[in-house]
C-alpha cells in the first residue's frame, strides 16, 4: 500500500515531529525500569512511520510520551519532543491538553474498550470536534456526520446514536478513527489499531488509514508488532528493542537489507510459506531494571564484542538508513 511516490519523497528540512534523546523511567518497588533509553526519531509532514518491535520494547510508551499521557509512575527524565518546532515538554499541562486532539490524536488497539461505553458515538465525536476546533455544537455535528461518512460508516445519522457495544470491532475502530481525525490533527498515532481485528477487517482499516492520511495530509505513526503490516503501510520503519532504537530505514530497504543484528534475526524468525526452518533468537530480552550499559541486544548477539558495552550511536549506512551497531550486517 505504500505507493512508490510517497516512499520517494525527499527528506524535508523541517520535521513535523522530532523526538530527541528521550529517556523515560518507571520507579517500581523492584527498582528503576529504564523503559526508554535515548530514543530519537523524526516524522515528516504527511509521512507514515512504522514503530515496530516486540513486547516491552517501548513502542507504545513512546507514543504515550508524545501524547503527554505517560501513566504513573512513568516519568520522562530527559530529551525533548518537538511538534512543529514547539517543545511540548515545556508546555504547562493545560496547553499540552489543547495540543491533543487538535494537533496530535491517537487511535488505540481495542476500539470497543477505548470508546466511552456510557456515551453515544455521536456525543464523543461532537465533543472531540468542539474541543479541538473551538466550534459550536451545530457545526461540530455537521463535521461529525461528514467525518463518519469519510471513515466508511454508512448511515452516519444512525451511528451517531449508537453505543460502542452495538458496533462490531471493525465499525468501532472506524468510529474511533473518526474521533481521532475530526479535530484536524496533523499527526495521528495509531497504536496496534488492527491487532484485535480479523485479517479481512484489518485490511479494510489499514486501507482507510492510508486513504485518510493522503486526503487530510496528516502524518501517521503506526505502532505494530506485525512486520508485514509495517512493510505494506509505512514509508519508513523504526525498529525498537528493549527501550532503544536499533535501526531506521525506508520500509523496502529495511526488509531487503536489514543492518542491525536484531532486525536481521527478527526477520529470520518470521514464519512464511516456503521457508525451511525458522531461526529463533537465542536468549531473552534483558531486565530493564539496571540493564548493562551499552547495546541492549549485545547479550543475545552473535556479532557482539567488547566495544558493545558502550552504546553505539546511530550512523547512516545508506540513504536514510540508520543503524545503532558497531558491527552491522552487510548485505550479501
Amino acid at each position: 500500500m505504500s505507493a512508490a511516490p510517497v516512499a520517494a519523497r525527499p527528506a524535508p528540512a523541517a520535521p513535523l515531529l522530532a523526538v530527541r534523546g528521550l529517556k523515560l523511567r518507571f520507579d517500581t518497588r523492584r527498582g528503576v525500569v529504564r523503559a526508554l533509553d535515548g530514543v530519537s526519531f523524526e516524522v515528516a509532514p504527511g509521512e507514515c512511520v512504522g514503530l515496530v518491535g516486540e513486547t516491552g520494547c517501548g513502542k507504545s510508551i513512546t507514543a504515550r510520551a508524545v501524547m503527554g499521557l505517560v501513566p504513573a509512575p512513568g516519568r520522562i527524565e530527559g530529551g525533548e519532543i518537538r511538534l512543529d518546532g514547539r517543545d511540548l515538554m515545556a508546555l504547562p499541562a493545560e496547553e499540552w491538553r489543547a495540543v491533543r486532539g487538535s494537533q496530535v490524536a491517537m487511535i488505540f488497539q481495542e476500539p470497543k474498550r477505548a470508546l466511552d461505553p456510557t456515551a453515544t458515538v455521536g456525543s464523543q465525536i461532537v465533543e472531540a470536534a468542539m474541543l479541538a476546533r473551538r466550534i459550536d455544537r451545530a457545526e461540530a455535528k455537521r463535521l461529525a456526520l461528514d467525518t463518519l461518512r469519510q471513515v466508511g460508516l454508512a448511515d452516519p445519522e444512525r451511528i451517531m446514536r449508537t453505543y460502542a457495544f452495538e458496533l462490531s470491532g471493525g465499525m468501532a475502530q472506524r468510529a474511533m478513527i473518526a474521533i481521532a481525525v475530526v479535530g484536524g490533527s496533523r499527526l495521528i498515532i495509531a497504536d496496534e489499531p488492527t491487532s484485535s481485528l480479523d485479517v479481512s477487517i484489518q485490511a479494510q482499516i489499514l486501507r482507510l488509514l492510508q486513504d485518510l492520511r493522503r486526503r487530510l495530509g496528516s502524518a501517521l505513526i503506526l505502532i505494530t508488532h506485525d512486520l508485514g503490516v509495517a512493510a505494506e503501510n509505512c514509508d519508513r520503519i523504526v525498529v525498537m528493542y528493549a527501550g532503544q532504537i536499533v535501526e531506521q530505514a525506508p520500509a523496502r530497504e529495511l526488509f531487503r537489507a536489514p543492518a542491525h543484528p536484531y532486525t536481521e534475526r527478527l526477520l529470520r524468525s518470521l514464519p512464511r510459506p516456503g521457508r525451511d526452518a525458522l531461526s529463533p533468537i537465542p536468549g531473552t530480552v534483558p531486565d530493564l531494571i539496571d540493564p548493562a550499559p551499552g547495546c541492549r541486544f549485545a547479550n543475545r548477539c552473535e556479532r557482539a564484542g567488547p566495544d558493545c558495552a558502550a552504546t553505539p550511536a546511530m550512523s547512516e549506512i545508506g540513504r536514510r538508513h540508520f543503524v545503532a551497531c558497531y558491527r552491522p550486517v552487510r548485505p550479501t
Binding site: 500500500m1 505507493a3 516486540e54 513486547t55 462490531s168 471493525g170 465499525m171 480479523d198 485479517v199 479481512s200 477487517i201 484489518q202 485490511a203 479494510q204 489499514l206 486501507r207 508488532h225 506485525d226 512486520l227 508485514g228 503490516v229 509495517a230 512493510a231 505494506e232 503501510n233 523496502r252 526488509f255 531487503r256 534475526r265 527478527l266 526477520l267 524468525s269 518470521l270 514464519p271 512464511r272 510459506p273 516456503g274 521457508r275 526452518a277 525458522l278 531461526s279 529463533p280 533468537i281 531473552t284
Partner: protein, 335 residues
Amino acid sequence: MSAATSRPTVEARNLSVRFRARGEAAWPWSKAGEVKAVENVSIAVPRGEMFGVAGESGCGKSTLARALLNLVAPSAGEVRIDGRAVAGMPALELRSSIQMVFQDPYNSLNPRRRVGDIVAESLVVHGRFDDRERAHRTLTMLEKVGLGAQHLERFPHEFSGGQRQRIAIARALILEPQFLVLDEPTSALDVSVQAMVLELIRQLRRDLDLGCIFISHDLNLLGFLTDRLAVMYLGRIVEMGPTKEIFAAPAHPYTVELIAATPSPYEEGREPRQPIEGEIPSNVNPPPGCPFHTRCRKRIGPICDSRLPELRWHEGRAVRCHLYDGPPAESGGAP
C-alpha cells in the same frame, strides 16, 4: 475414506456443532437462535501429519478443535480416533490418545501448582507408573521441551509466555498421545518467541510421530508449518488440500482474499488490492446459498445466493464453490 491409509487417524465425519445463541438473539421475548458453529465438516488426519485449520473469528475452527477432543458434543456426525467413536470412549482412554494445547498460556496453567506437578498430573490421574518413574518421565519430558530440573519446583508465574507454552506442551505430551490439537498456541507470543515454540512443535512432531491439528488465523504461519490445510468460513470448510498447492494457486475466492489480506514483508511490488468488503455474517442467521456470496468478488449469479455448493475436487484439493464443477469430494477424503 481413511481406510486408504493404514496409519492411525483422527477423523471428523460430517461433524456439526450448534449452540443455543446467547446475546442479542436471546432476549427473553425473542426466539432463541442457534449458532451454527461447525457445519458438516469432515477431516481425516493421520499420525505424523501437520494439518492446519485456517479462518477468521466465528469460522468454527476452535469449536472443531474442541469437538475433536469431545470437549463439546456434536449435534450431528461424529469424531473417530483410529476407527473408534470418541463419543462413547472412556475419558482416560480418549485423553491418552489425543491432547490439546490452548491459546492463552497465562490462563491454561493452574497458578497454584508447581510445574513438576502440572506436568506429572496426567500420569497420576491415569495411575501410570510409580513415583520414581513418574518423576523420571516428567523430567525427561521437561527436557524435551527445553526446560530442566531447576524448573520442577517453580510456579507458572515465574515463567515467560513462551516457557509457559512449553510447559503446556509437556503436559499435553506426557501421556504419549498419538494426536495433538493446538489452538492458536502462539498467537499470544512475540515473533521471536513464537519461532522457538514453532520449531519445538515441529521437532516433537517428527520425534514422536504426532498427528497435529494446528488451528490459526495466521496464514503465513500455516503456510510455513503445515502439510495440509483446511480453510473454514462460517462453520464450513471452503477449501482443503496440500498446503503448498493451496498457496501456489488458491482456488476458493475466500482463500484468495485471505491470502491477499495477510500482510507480508516479503511481497515487494505486490499490487495493492482493494480489500474485501463487508463483515463476516452472523452464524446465527447465515446467508442462504454459499455462505461467502455476500462478500465474494467472483459471484457468478443467483445460484450463489440460493444453493450451497458441495465440496468438489479441483486440482488435487476439495473446494466448495460454484465456480468449480469437478466430481464431488467424498466426505472425509484425503485431498
